[in-house]
Symmetry: D2
Subunit: 349 residues, 4 copies
């Protein structure tokens, strides 16, 4: 008699099974596990309740209050595939029962890092601005449009936040031999030094950076971290790349300061998405405008599925998960990510 | 009695002394050498003739036919600061007399490499295109505008040309762990392998690359290297970055193919500069338009002056030049760079 | 009224407080915490029992059965400073109570990696062997003693095990541009690929490697992994570097095969330590002999103290530990490390 | 009618054709060129004279005074395969006639770099010393023999000389994230900075380095560069790796200072080779002894042949040589390398 397969419940909304699992990955998941896919099932909640006692893993973000966790006596893993840990799960109960709470943040890290570097090079060299000028018949050749162009090589670079995103970005920055300062109040200085970056205070990062990347997660402490007063400390002509959470910055002040020419900025996140049609940012020359595009690319989504599959196989084999990110019990309650209100479901972490 | 200082003649046009030499560099040059600056001197040609017999170095691109070289009995170095070796110098005569013929190509390499990477990331992720859409009120959030976005990480990348520019770009590409194929008929395969890239034929590079960088210098052989037939071999959806010389490609075909959606391209050089006001490229969505901006940034220009100063000090001390590029006698005649016709003097190498 | 400081109990044996904590680190620990150092205290066990209910952290390897863990109601961290997880702790009880069980393995990783590379270069080039010959007056100059010398550059390299040690070693190997295959049955293939190495079967690693590093931890599965039959699959003239656990290899066969000239080996661990005076290995030319020296250097020990301090500060601040290694509940029971029987207490991880 | 093949004269002594050209390389050389191999030919000198007027290239170190160079009217390349430029060639005459004078130094660079790193890791960790102790039954386990062991990671490292060898070594040192200072009076500071190292004075390098690599070529200026007074400036316990030329150091003082325990050293070159049987160095514990072994390994020799072949093909195709090193006319006369007096012909560069 063969051993029955472990049960994996897919409940991916607002993600989708198809986007998250490439066909080859989904096929392998079905081979290795019994799979119950509740995507789009109008009866999903009841099905979930029925399945919980036998579930080996839940892939998605369903409500999991203590009561449900308690009934999930076989549960070994909760795999978040959305990128944010919502407060609809009793994470403490999961921890107490030895359920691995896993996040898909690493799947987005490379995509966000490459995009951030692209935005920084755009700001450093005026790529988007000059493409617009060219289309308007007003391009300046060679030196004429390059007077404010700078190299990243040897530049003073600042990072606010040094989690998955910061580390992935740092790897791409290595060959630029820049001076890289990092402000991250969640990490010991020696941890940063081991990664080859310079620990720094927020003020130091703000005041020294020619290029500043804001990669911080939102918590109570980081909300409005970049107040108007702090934004005014940026070096004249600095380049600011904001790809994490809009709430870390005073957006009104930020856009106003760019309009006035204090610094340049690339913005991938916005306090309200979609941005209103008459939003003043749409006309500011010193901005590169981006609609929450940093992380949610096909390669990142497919990687989520691969990470889920790999780690479920690890756990089933009595091995620790290594590809998804283990949610730190200290932090999982502190994130203040608000589900995006737009119909588009994907968000970067 | 002090030894008289060696004479350095500055004749930088179409470059300028001010742009090429930062104040601190120029001051040092004057301290170390006797400097005759002929920039803008209406009598420059006669002054040059008078100075030649005593000149230790000429910095610039004046006409130096055999007759002048012969009279320059003390000449040790000819430092080109424009980026191209024009046919107005008898390079063979210089070589015969042991005059170092030095180019400033390396000064531009980092600037071009960073710009090329910026253009590639732009094409890979649609940065410029989506900024335009955002300004037009038509942005697509998250996945909606990302369906064709790709990672450079692990991508199939091709380089046509592996001189200063290719090597500088390759260094920046290392952390992306891509498969990098190089076509460069001027270099032995083992030379490429030592640099960690894969030697490949032109067809192989064209057919396999998701991102293709064209960095080739123009010679008779490379003119129209990228004919329409060859451009049609590019992978559907490929990204083409052209930053070297417009003459390597059939521009009409290239722009037409991008218009039809065969591939995307970023163009920094053009067959005619400035581009005509009604040029069809100005309206093509799949292009990133750039007006010969890759190399000529302030940091590159200032580096030229530093390189000139450093190498003149080396040569005066009986040491070989190490910062500028020694012009290969085999190649200096083969370049077919045409002086740019626009007033803007600076060009990237 | 000031808040009382959290209590940290030091119970480092067989490690020592002095070796583990540099003066500056220990001073800081005392400033930040109430410290009870039980090192060498004859009454240590009773003191520990008394302190447990109030202990915020235990630094060391005391017996912690379920009963003690239950009484340690304030315990947040158990910091192992020895390098091995002994079975004298009820790790499950710790996990259930949310106690962080932390290991100091990362402190040794760089030391072991550098030592392993040193051993590999020694074997590749005969450094130790030729120093001996030189002292015996029998040195061979230049080519005469170099006929079997090989480069690591571009070599076929194998790693058995890709944990802390493997990753640290891999980082050092990157500039050698070698082909690096890894056998690690505890890790998914994609995890290895993400780190830029090639996942491989044990046989493949054994048969292809010119240089083979054995970095595996001992578990039931890995005991005698390198049986005589497997060792015979090594390439003739291969170099084997063994720095993890002696039990992974059939030592008798290994030493015999080296004696017969099948391959060369550097051995840092031994089935019995100290090695008997008449051990045949002492006279084998093809060996580099080393007495459990790979990890236990002053810099590694001092780093343990820094890691402990940093992570206790993290946990006290409500943040997750990031410098020590979180013990995987799946693995902590599987290690079969036997306390070294020699008086020397320090062991590498 | 086919064009006759260009004539390549092989005159490799004290190198040998067999050692320099792998079979596949030699076969290709014969396919592409007419080859006259004078190795071991008792009539070699007369044959050379007869062949010179038609010779396209000479591979080796025959006497080439002005008279012979003048008769070599077709000569395009002189490929030195020994590693040193002897004064038996009229290099100025070669330069005047446009003959490429090429050196094989780069072929040895990787071998010397890996060996130097191996020696440094040996000194840092006592590998050779403890292997000797183990064989003598006096090994100290773990911490007992590690009290003076240091990490290269983050160390203060000095390089004297930054030519082929220094650059190759630097590449290997990158992942150690050390502070690397370089003293090289032949190179501008900015050249060093571009390579990511810190230009420094000789005194600074001597006084700050924990590990000091001496890679300098011998010239009049560098002879006895490391006098006793300068060696006394080394940090107590420093590690000195000497792999270039013995004449750069006062060997008597060096060995005496190591005997007294001032610092440790690895010596690969010696004022007299072979070293006398009763040389005091043979018994000094603090030394690692090596018999001119750094560069002359099979992989390096075979690379010479490949470089010669590749560059002859380049030159024949009207392209510049890129694999061998172009001899700087300023330097070729300044080297004071003395042919090694031992029968063994190979020497590292």
């Amino acid at each position: 008699m063969t051993h029955p397969k472990e049960l994996v419940v897919l409940y991916p909304a607002p993600q989708s099974t198809e986007r998250t699992f490439a066909p080859v990955t989904l096929r392998r998941l079905h081979e290795e596990f019994e799979v119950l896919d509740l995507e789009g099932d109008p009866d999903a909640e009841r099905q979930l309740d029925l399945a919980l006692p036998r579930a080996f893993a839940v892939v998605g973000q369903p409500d999991l209050p203590a009561e449900r966790v308690e009934r999930a006596v076989s549960l070994r893993a909760l795999c978040n595939v959305e990128g944010n840990f919502f407060p609809n799960v009793d994470y403490a109960a999961c921890a107490d029962r030895g359920v691995h709470v896993l996040g898909c943040g690493p799947a987005y890290a490379q995509a966000v890092a490459e995009y951030s570097l692209g935005l920084a090079l755009d700001l450093a060299r005026g790529i988007t601005r000059e493409d617009r000028a060219f289309r308007a018949g007003a391009e300046g050749y060679t030196f004429a449009s390059n007077t404010d162009s700078i190299l990243l090589r040897g530049a003073e670079i600042g990072l606010i936040g040094f989690g998955n995103l910061g580390r992935a970005l740092h790897e791409l920055l290595v060959p630029f031999r820049a001076t890289i300062r990092v402000y991250d109040p969640w990490l010991p200085e020696r941890h940063l030094e081991e990664h080859g970056v310079i620990p720094a205070s927020l003020d130091e990062v703000l005041e020294t950076s020619q290029v500043l990347f804001v990669l911080a997660t939102i918590t109570e402490e980081s909300e409005r971290l970049l107040s108007e007063a702090r934004l005014r400390r940026l070096r004249p002509g600095a380049r600011l790349v904001l790809v994490s959470r809009a709430a870390v910055a005073d957006f009104t002040a930020l856009i106003e300061l760019v309009s006035q020419g204090h610094f340049l900025a690339a913005l991938d996140v916005w306090p309200e998405e979609p941005v209103t049609a008459d939003h003043p940012a749409r006309a500011v020359e010193g901005l590169v405008l981006s609609a929450h595009r940093a992380g949610g690319i096909p390669a990142a989504f497919e990687k989520i599925g691969e990470m889920v599959l790999d780690d479920l196989l690890q756990i089933r084999a009595g091995l620790p998960p290594v590809r998804m990110q283990v949610a730190a019990r200290e932090l999982v309650h502190r994130y203040r990510s608000r589900p995006v209100t737009t119909a588009a479901g994907a968000r970067n972490a």
